[in-house]
């Protein structure tokens, strides 16, 4: 058993051991907290040159990672918040994503960008965003959003070895979660979703932490006799819509729970593909995600801003023609309840 943070650390250690060209950079990666433990001690083990703190200059530092990757290195650039990627969109969208195509394959940009997302409490408008749909929209980038410690390790290794820029989306409430993780090196497969729970009545699809919401919703639904299938998208670009469509066609009902706003999100893309497919007419579908406003700081509003096991279960009940009032109570998730900051 390893925590999600420890699984990331194991992945990077194994890769740094294996390949001299792998290195880590980012604000605070060599500090006492080591990005939730995921970079802890790497500078001691591999030298300060291979795990270094950076100035607060996201644009240039991303460009520097791109340049190092052009030179054949494999940088892993860590960001404490995905919101901060708004400062380096030019390097990600206009440079990293484009170098390979515009040189007709003469160069590639084997870099990894890791970014934390997510609530805890009171992160507010500018420390809570997860605009992964931006990166799904632009060709030339890959996006992974591992939910389990297993997939955290497999994602990071796959991302490091891949020759395209890969973005890894990490929800901060997941870092402490424990799971079984193979000790050896392995890669997850790009473009493959995971079915975490088999079910026949409704398909629940989550992204990163909303997969946890879906699993909890499935338990709530089970007490009402509804058997939910739960899919962890995992690979957002390329996107495994086939798995989702197949499942939805089987259950006839689909709830996609984005970990960002709904408009032009992953759910939009999945439902659009469903609508384009002949399967669409047999499926009743619904999207969930952040409320369509800026994220508020105060807890009561946060609670209704984010999707929750209950809000997911309610939609599933509705799709199944059942009264949501039949749903039992579910305590607030431990990781949310126990969160005490300071950040």
């Amino acid at each position: 058993m390893l925590s999600y943070g420890a699984a990331l650390l194991e992945a990077i250690e194994q890769e740094m051991e294996r390949d001299q060209s792998v290195f880590v950079m980012g604000q605070g990666v060599d500090d006492q907290k080591g990005q939730y433990g995921s970079t802890l001690g790497l500078h001691k083990k591999f030298g300060a040159a291979r795990n270094f703190d950076t100035p607060i200059a996201e644009d240039a530092m991303t460009g520097i990672a791109v340049g190092a990757a052009l030179a054949g290195m494999r940088p892993v650039h860590v960001h404490q918040r995905m919101d901060f990627l708004m400062l380096c969109m030019n390097q990600l969208v206009n440079m990293a994503a484009k170098y390979s195509y515009m040189s007709a394959g003469q160069v590639s940009v084997p870099m990894v960008v890791r970014a934390s997302i997510g609530r805890s409490w009171g992160q507010g408008p500018q420390h809570s965003q997860a605009p992964y749909p931006f990166f799904m929209h632009v060709p030339g980038l890959k996006v992974l959003a591992p939910t389990t410690p297993h997939d955290a390790k497999g994602s990071l290794i796959a991302a490091i070895r891949d020759d395209t820029p890969v973005l890894i989306v990490e929800h901060r409430l997941l870092y402490g979660n424990q799971g079984i993780v193979p000790a050896t090196e392995f890669e997850i497969e790009f473009g493959k979703a995971r079915i975490l729970r088999k079910g026949s009545h409704v398909t629940l699809v989550g992204v990163s932490y909303t997969v946890v919401d879906c699993l909890r919703a499935a338990s709530m639904l089970a007490s009402c006799g509804i058997d939910a299938e739960v899919i962890d998208l995992l690979s957002l670009a390329p996107l495994d819509s086939a798995a989702v469509l197949e499942s939805a066609a089987r259950t006839g009902r689909l709830v996609v729970v984005d970990n960002s706003w709904v408009t032009c999100g992953a759910g939009a893309e999945l439902l659009a593909r469903l609508q384009e497919s002949p399967l669409g007419e047999h499926v009743r579908a619904k999207r969930l995600g952040y409320a369509p406003v800026t994220c508020p700081t105060t807890r009561p509003l946060e609670d209704i801003f984010y999707p929750s096991p209950r809000s997911v279960a309610v939609e599933a009940m509705k799709l199944c023609g059942r009264d949501p009032a039949d749903l039992g109570e579910l305590a607030v998730a431990r990781e949310i309840e126990e969160f005490k900051g300071p950040f």
Binding site: P55, G122, P342
Partner: protein
């Protein structure tokens, strides 16, 4: 220009209000009634107090996530501040903002941002508006040493200098961005030396006290108000506690405890108290405690925003 000397009584009242408010935060933080990150100003309050007292009422302030001192020194509502920390609807932004986004438009204190350096161009833009409208007021923009790591800081300085805008940049250089020292992040000269090359009259001040800050800002504000264009004041200081939260971080091993001892020995709350009579100090202290108690009571008795509040204040 503000003449004479700073009003020590008022300065002490402000310093004491900020210090006691943050001490109160430290005291209750573990109770989890403030469900939001807090970035304490303790140790840096006197920069805010000296600066804000040197300004006119219609001057405009831009701050950042470490904004408690700026907000309170400017005269932002203590009650609304506390209610906001509690996430209540009687907070200054009805609970939507929290500690990182303080705002009080009654005193021209603009909503603070939690993205490093991001409000700096906004402050410059406000100054542009002031100049376009021929207003007398100036804009003051507080920022950290870390903000000067960001390119937008230099872009902003360039434009302010190019258009000779009425803005004063106050760099509160506490030597750290989270756990990184300035020298780990920055090559070359000091921030003020660089700013100077960008066309901004700038000066560097080693740990100035409240009175000195007041003088420096009064003079700078005067020049800016007279149309001489932007200026930058770089002042070193020290934050006593952790970057975020209420812990002491000196046991983490990256900051020498001697630095904090030095800073505590310079403590302006103590220094200013020493300039007043014991009776004055006691009276102010009592007043501060009463005001603080009232503010906390206001926060505690406030309602949480109802679910109907979620969708407000956005166009959708």
């Amino acid at each position: 220009m503000k003449c004479g000397e700073i009003d020590i009584r008022r300065a002490y009242h402000l310093l004491r209000t900020i210090r006691r408010s943050e001490e109160k935060i430290i005291e209750i933080y573990s109770l989890d009634v403030i469900k939001s990150p807090v970035h304490l100003s303790i140790g840096q309050e006197h920069l805010a107090v000296g600066a804000c007292m040197a300004l006119d009422d219609n001057d405009v302030l831009f701050s950042n996530y470490r904004g408690h001192a700026h907000y309170l020194a400017r005269g932002g509502s203590l009650k609304a501040f506390w209610a906001e920390l509690y996430g209540k609807s009687n907070g200054h932004a009805r609970g939507k903002a929290g500690s990182m986004h303080l705002v009080d438009m009654e005193v021209n204190f603009m909503p603070a941002s939690a993205i490093v350096a991001s409000a700096i161009p906004n402050a410059v833009g406000y100054a542009l508006a002031c100049k376009m409208r021929n207003e007398e007021r100036i804009v003051v923009c507080f920022h950290g040493d870390g903000a000067a790591d960001e390119g937008v800081f230099w872009e902003s300085l360039n434009f302010a200098a190019l258009k000779k805008l009425p803005i004063l940049f106050i760099c509160e250089n506490n030597g750290y961005a989270i756990y990184s020292t300035q020298r780990q992040r920055m090559a070359g000269g000091s921030i003020s030396e660089k700013a100077e090359r960008f066309g901004i009259p700038a000066s560097f001040h080693e740990c100035p006290g409240t009175q000195q800050v007041w003088k420096l800002v009064s003079e700078a504000a005067d020049g800016i108000r007279n149309g001489n264009g932007p200026q930058l004041l770089e002042m070193t200081t020290y934050r006593w506690f952790d970057h975020v939260g209420t812990d002491d971080d000196h046991d983490l091993g990256f900051r020498d405890i001697a630095l904090r001892t030095g800073a505590r020995n310079r403590d302006d709350v103590v220094k200013l108290a020493a300039l007043l009579s014991p009776a004055d100090v006691m009276a102010i202290d009592e007043r501060v405690e009463a005001e603080l108690a009232a503010a906390i009571a206001y926060a505690e008795t406030g309602e949480f925003p109802g679910s109907d509040e979620l969708m407000g204040h956005d166009y959708v």
